[in-house]
Symmetry: C2
Subunit: 547 residues, 2 copies
């Protein structure tokens, strides 16, 4: 057994012990889907099932009124997270005892002061294993990072804690985080609760799976190329990639630290737009800009939401849409997803016009160059430090043919990025001038496929072009692939080699039932408006669970 | 005559022709100060003197009501700018005919529509020669950039134009812009209108001199290490360095393009806080974030100003101050300037406490490394392209011993910067916790000297540390050096070699009468609050000219 394998064996043994015997399931159920198993497991009481199937907005209201105790809510989610892990293999850190102790303190506070400590009082929040919690490990999927214990909290953790959140689990990620699936050499692969043959997405894939199966109510991820939005899409969830500077990132673990040409951002994954809003408003109420210099002092702007509400109530929204970025055509279920959204919007009186994606291939190439700007040296070092092998999905990033660029080349790239962003804004203004009114957002695919089969992810461009633009993007779950409707277009002539590979992957039977989502794209730092539009779309689709 | 000298001779000849015979002064007056000369020149009518000695706020009100015509206001400023140039040598581009044609169009618009085109309708605005105006040259002080004509406007110019501003002059800058004095090989040195032996500051020094002598009413500069604030200070003016992302910068000329580790920002220089506010609110009303991706969608927040007004009216402000950053002790006039501000604030019931500057030497070294991160290669190329010599003040930047850093070193620097900024915020919070209330701003020197004698600038750290923090900073004029009060402390033991050089420069006679300023430092993107505090300090000092 190699040294790295010993580290892994030790970690797995420790992880195994985090689940008490009474939360152990007898056997992983037969069949491809685990989605309905928690309710049938016998481990959760009726009350616990009801708690874990509530919305976060409902739970915080009941916790703030004293109707629910944090220990009960926390226990319910700990139990369900334990079940989730046994089904889909999503935990990298699990600490129910600490969580229950924290919940107890919050209950004691409530008992004494008759008020909550903050807007998330007593609510369990799950975290991607990139957030630091003092005293715990943060592996980011690297074996070499095991057995190193954090000495302080990430600022997001500090602020969530102040807002009253309870921490109980840190979920799995792909080695390096630079992949939109979730596989590492520490615990292996995390699968999609709806079908174990599908990916849960990545890199915040543990969060996607955990929240998807309701072992978590709000999960916090990060996104530099789709890592919040892809797991949201693949698990029929809402997720937001806020623009850079809206949410805190200080004191996070990361690879390529100091790389600021394109920023990774933090953001929530949840079952509804309302729960996404709860998270964002709660964090902003703690004034993150006083803790992290990169956060913009911008409170939640209710008047910006009102702009959208007013438009909805009078005259309607004006939205652009595209179903192909000119590089890769999405699979039939995703094309139908976009069509469905466009149709339902039009039926409800909104103005939906075609958006011509401006040079997305250029954007995707530019951001791919940024991801690889050090030639993969930093992630390579962290992989090699333990002797573990690289996961197959990141071999592109570690290709020895990819050379690190010089600082001057980086400056050129940064200039190109800014120019491209500014040109994109010009296109946005041009359409507005043509229409004679504001373009409120753009509807687009977020991935070219419904929840993808393992190791088949070829093209992240629908997500990553938006990162390059630093636009706000909210994922809205739309529908499920249906083999009877989403037939393969056999006569389609692929646009290029990547498109050919993507098209070849479509199999109506294999994808039957896989979640389909779209993203709503707003200009930079338009979280209030873009989320409000996403919520309206969800309502029109009947997908929004309003409390 | 070398080739570059021919280019210069041609430019000077063209510049000479921009001033009509009737605006020519007979001879440069005797004595060190030109400050009072425009009024005595006989070139400006009584009405023109009155216009040029108004505030911008007054002028836009009269232009918007039809009481004044833009051609009259524009003519007055063109004439005064022509005089200014002949006295202090501050113009690099002067185009009164175009300006008057633009003014005429605006007057015609007003005549027809009975309303202004925007909040700056008909107001002349002077620009540092780094802003692009279609059809004109932008030299940035490089001989090699002469005879190249811009094909589009900078976004700031586009938006000012939309707001109704009239352009008539682009003012001088030091070769490279990386110096806080104003000297280049094209037109030589720009001097301080109050005393030709003093610097007008830099790099927006042409703006400082021009607005100082009222050849301009609002001047627009840029600041990456003090370049708006130093000319403001040296000319007894207000100036703001907004935080990055508040004002547009797209399509500006610049050196080291694509360098984003520390951002240069645009901002106004003016005679009052009210005029600074007029400029900022006017630009923001044009929604610059729809044109430049780096601009944050943040309207002028009147409620943030109200927070400060309410504190002033009840209980008072809470301010920190420091008079020494631990690296270089300011000269006696500047120490007295800080004392004066602290005293007047305390007398008026505000709480002013000592601020301990956190590792400013580290910050200054870090930002100096960023300025030189390409080893001076880019500016060196633009100097060498014409064969002109480097101005003496930038020899440090072009020192062949300074090596370009690698991209990985740049990432390290970026990480250090972020960590430092976050630690600084922590110190700010710690003091707030100790005081049990918000710390509203910090009062500090902006330069270690009053308006400095030529070629004596040794230390930019009071300005540049604030750039590294990306804090908002507003310069407030305070007083004038007085040889009878500001005696030299002969027993002072310098902190280091730089401090020794700075102290040696102090000569009470030579600095007698030189403007002294302080800066008011607010957290990132606190323009509304910080400007409101600066305005209050100006009022208490009796230096604010309110219309």
């Amino acid at each position: 057994m190699a040294e790295w394998e010993k580290l892994v064996a030790d970690k797995r043994a420790r992880l195994e012990k985090t689940i008490p015997a009474e939360w152990k399931i007898k056997a992983v159920p037969e069949g491809d889907s685990f989605f309905d198993f928690p309710a049938k497991s016998g481990i959760l009481s009726e009350n616990e099932l009801q708690i874990t199937e509530s919305s976060a907005t409902e739970l915080v209201a009941k916790l703030a009124s004293g109707e629910l105790k944090s220990v009960d809510v926390t226990l319910a989610f700990c139990k369900r997270a334990a079940i989730a892990h046994q089904l889909v293999n999503c935990n990298l850190e699990f600490f129910p005892e600490q969580a229950l102790a924290q919940a107890k303190e919050l209950d004691a506070y409530f008992e004494q002061h008759k008020k909550p400590v903050g807007p998330l009082h007593g609510l369990p929040i799950s975290l991607k294993d990139q957030f630091r919690i003092k005293g715990l490990e943060t592996s980011m999927g690297y074996v070499s990072w095991l057995n190193k214990y954090d000495t302080e909290d990430s600022i997001m953790v500090t602020l969530l804690r102040k807002a009253g959140a309870v921490f109980y689990v840190k979920t799995s990620v792909p080695q390096t985080l630079m992949v939109c699936e979730t596989v590492n050499n520490i615990i292996g692969r995390t699968v999609n609760p709806r079908n174990k043959n599908w990916s849960c997405g990545g890199s915040s894939g543990g969060e996607g799976a955990m929240v998807g199966i309701r072992g978590g109510i709000i999960g916090v991820g990060t996104d530099i190329g789709g890592s919040i939005r892809v797991p949201s899409a693949f698990n029929f969830l809402y997720g937001i990639r806020p623009s850079h500077g809206r949410m805190p990132y200080a004191k996070m673990a990361n690879s390529m630290e100091g790389q600021e040409t394109v920023h990774s951002v933090t953001g929530p994954i949840a079952h509804s737009a309302a729960d996404i809003r709860l998270f964002l408003t709660s964090v902003l109420s703690e004034e993150p800009w006083k803790y992290d210099s990169k956060v913009i002092p911008l409170e939640w702007r209710h008047h910006e939401e009102d702009v959208i509400k007013n438009k909805i109530n009078s005259g309607g929204l004006t939205l652009g849409f595209y179903n192909c970025d000119g590089v890769v055509l999405p699979h039939p279920p995703v094309l139908r997803g976009v069509d469905t959204v466009v149709s339902v919007l039009k039926e409800n009186g909104h103005d939906v016009v075609e958006w011509s994606p401006y040079r997305h291939e250029y954007a995707v190439n530019l951001i791919n160059g940024i991801y690889a700007s050090d030639g993969g040296a930093d992630v390579g070092r962290d992989i090699e430090a333990s002797g573990e092998p690289a996961i197959p999905n990141i071999k592109d990033l570690l290709n020895p043919d990819i050379q690190a660029i010089s600082m001057i080349q980086l400056w050129d790239t940064q200039l190109q990025k800014w120019q491209y962003q500014t040109e994109y804004l010009e296109k946005w203004r041009e359409l507005e001038e043509k229409l004679g009114k504001e373009l409120d957002a753009i509807i687009a695919p977020i991935t070219p496929t419904a929840a993808i089969r393992h190791n088949q992810f070829r093209y992240y461009g629908y997500a990553s072009a938006i990162n390059l633009l630093d636009f706000t993007s909210v994922v809205v779950p739309v529908t499920f692939a249906d083999k009877n409707i989403d037939v393969k277009n056999e006569s389609y002539a692929p646009l290029n080699e990547t498109d050919k590979l993507v098209q070849a992957e479509y199999d109506p039977d294999a994808y039957h039932g896989a979640p389909v989502a779209i993203q709503v794209i707003g200009r930079r730092l338009s979280e209030e408006r873009t989320l409000a539009i996403a919520e309206e779309i969800g309502c029109l689709l009947g997908n929004t669970v309003t409390p």
